[in-house]
Subunit: 392 residues, 2 copies
């Protein structure tokens, strides 16, 4: 196991009806003027924004509001939010929504106290300061409610880039599984796929002898495999929703990933897809991740056998381990298909002829991307090609 | 799933050689005058206290010291430490040792700012204030490095009682698995047993549909079952030590236990054993826990089948589930025996004729103890009786 630091100071406030406590927790964590940041009209129409407003009123906390966050959140709204916060003297950002809203909130939190263009922090500049952020989560997916990560898309050129700092970990996150019961099945499945991907990016490692984090990763994966079909079949299954929601946090606050080399190439390759076509991140991952697995499985067949047997219930073929590895990948893709995810470029709305453009935007040049298996530009093109033609 | 709050703000500093960073982290978390609290001479002889002193010196942080913490730490030393801290103006407690040292440190942290007898807080009075505590951990066992719990024994009457508050969660915990390599096999095995018990107390629940926390519990248990025999066979196996150490934290910071009813009756019954005979907590748990399981298994046979098949590799007997449940409990006891734990009163050094005294000290009277299965005084006596006579 490698040396590591792990710091997850977010206070999680989990369960039915907890959104009405938002004001109490903002006050507890020192906020006096809040920006309520949200997405489309659904948070308003559902009455959730109203509940949050009332709880802030009851706690005597002032606020202003900015909606309009889109999936794959844009730098343009971050600039707008930053200006608003500075003008209004905001000292606390409350994200009411899913991963995109939280990521946009984190970007604003970075931008307000920064003396320059916040995009610097998404281009390698270290994070030194941020306003406190908190969340009222409405979809189990990104894990941004417990992570220090944020992903933003620069509208000029549709560049999707990320940053990470413990300063961006939310002060508190209110997680009410009931809020996810009204999500369309497709969004629910995209979220489940994103959660699985967060775990697989940690699971496929070259670090030896990491039993505890292997087993924690498998705990999350087994939960998603069990619970997702249940919520697709019955959107009102609160307990299944609750299991998925807590699994989504565990998947990405890094308790499953400490002390081991991680991969993140599937996320990298997907970011170019959702950057170019504006597709949902989880859907892009459903197309990329099994294709990445097929391309790299020979790098460590036994690790794929571990996945196949422990997660997807395959019988180990001791005479032909590679058959087990490939069977596991096949079952993963079938699972994704069964919950309504696309599995190839056509189903996603991507085009094979764009592969050179996708590879170019990744910016590998003559170099390689580190990870479970090091990838050069040809490797990446080959993975996109598998993804273009994938079938059950 | 039940509603819950989860807050684990401890900064974990994990890996080889990290103790030399103690001073840096004390300073980061605001300490200016530290009490270094430790146990016997081994922390001094091993040079660990020297490393900590030097790191505090290097960081320009003042300190005083108090050793002498014993297993099942006593109130008497807490009073002594409290007096010392008040006299010296200590504002930060640094525990260097295992669960007993950390628990004693937490008690001192409560006592210093409290205007009364700190034992109040171990008798039901809520915790309102505490000095910051941090740890340099030397054994994987109690999970006190990540928990808000503390257990203290009142010397007058050997009463063992506990308290809990998020205020007692350590600010940081330095966890170097290499420090555990010099532990005797018996202490290592006691620690592993304690870790398993922390999980089982959460695993045996009446809450339905808690797949994610079930699976997280199983992740820790599978890790301990795999890694403990390896460190018993080869005490210098760093990776196995590291897996056990991180598992020990995950087992008890409550990420495995949120949203579900928990039990804790085995701990309750064991506390009277270690209170009366001053045996190691883990050894007492090895005698009590399988006996408790035998007594209560009929309350939910299927849950014990889940344990038997998922943790101990039993084949499910679909014609006779109870046989599977009992086989799982048998394998758990055999596992404990295989790592050198006692499995009955004689091996522990307890006496069957003391059972009435043990039951009386538990203070149930005509009432019951809540939990997975409600227990009255007769139930408890029956469990102690099974423990007295247990065999492989």
């Amino acid at each position: 196991m490698e040396n590591f630091n792990f710091y997850s100071p977010t206070e999680f406030v989990f369960g039915k009806g907890r959104a009405s406590e938002a004001g109490t927790f903002v006050k507890k964590h020192g906020g006096s003027k809040v920006l309520i940041h949200y997405g489309g009209g659904s948070a308003v129409r559902s009455g959730l924004i109203g509940v949050v407003r009332k709880s802030l009123d009851d706690a005597g906390v002032a606020y202003c509001e900015l909606g309009g966050v889109r999936p794959n959140p844009r730098d343009t709204l971050v600039y707008k939010g930053t200006e608003l916060c500075r003008k209004e003297g905001v000292d606390f950002i409350l994200a009411v929504g899913g991963g995109s809203v939280i990521d946009s909130s984190k970007a604003i939190a970075l931008a307000v106290p920064y003396d320059g263009d916040f995009w610097d922090m998404y281009s390698g500049h270290p994070v030194e300061k941020a306003l406190p952020v908190a969340t009222v989560l409405t979809i189990a997916a990104a894990g941004s409610e417990g992570s220090g990560n944020s992903v933003i898309t620069k509208e000029d050129g549709m560049l999707k880039r990320s940053t990470r700092s413990d300063l961006l970990r939310p002060k508190f996150s209110i997680m009410d599984p009931a809020l996810t019961q009204t999500l369309p099945a497709y969004q629910t499945a995209c979220g489940a796929t994103d959660i699985m991907a967060h775990v697989f990016e940690r699971y496929f490692t070259n670090t030896k002898e990491v039993e505890i984090t292997d087993r924690l990763c498998e705990a999350v994966l087994l939960t998603i495999v069990k619970e997702t079909p249940r919520v697709i079949a019955d959107p009102d299954n609160y307990d299944a929703r609750a299991n998925i929601m807590w699994a989504g946090m565990v998947a990405h606050n890094n308790i499953c990933g400490v002390g081991r080399q991680q991969d993140w190439n599937s996320h990298g390759l997907e970011h170019e897809l959702s950057g170019l076509y504006d597709v949902t991140h989880g859907a892009g991952l459903a197309v990329i991740m099994p294709s990445w697995m097929e391309y790299v499985h020979g790098h460590n067949v036994m690790r794929f056998c571990q996945m196949a047997t422990r997660i997807f219930g395959c019988q180990m073929n001791f005479e032909d381990p590679e058959a087990t590895a490939l069977e596991g990948i096949k079952r993963f893709r079938s699972f994704l298909h069964s919950i309504g995810m696309p599995i190839n470029f056509a189903e996603l709305g991507a085009k094979e002829e764009d592969i050179p453009k996708l590879v170019e935007k990744l910016g590998i040049g003559d170099g390689t991307r580190a990870g479970f298996m090091e990838l050069n530009a040809d490797d990446v093109a080959a993975i996109y090609k598998i993804a273009a033609h994938a079938e059950l």
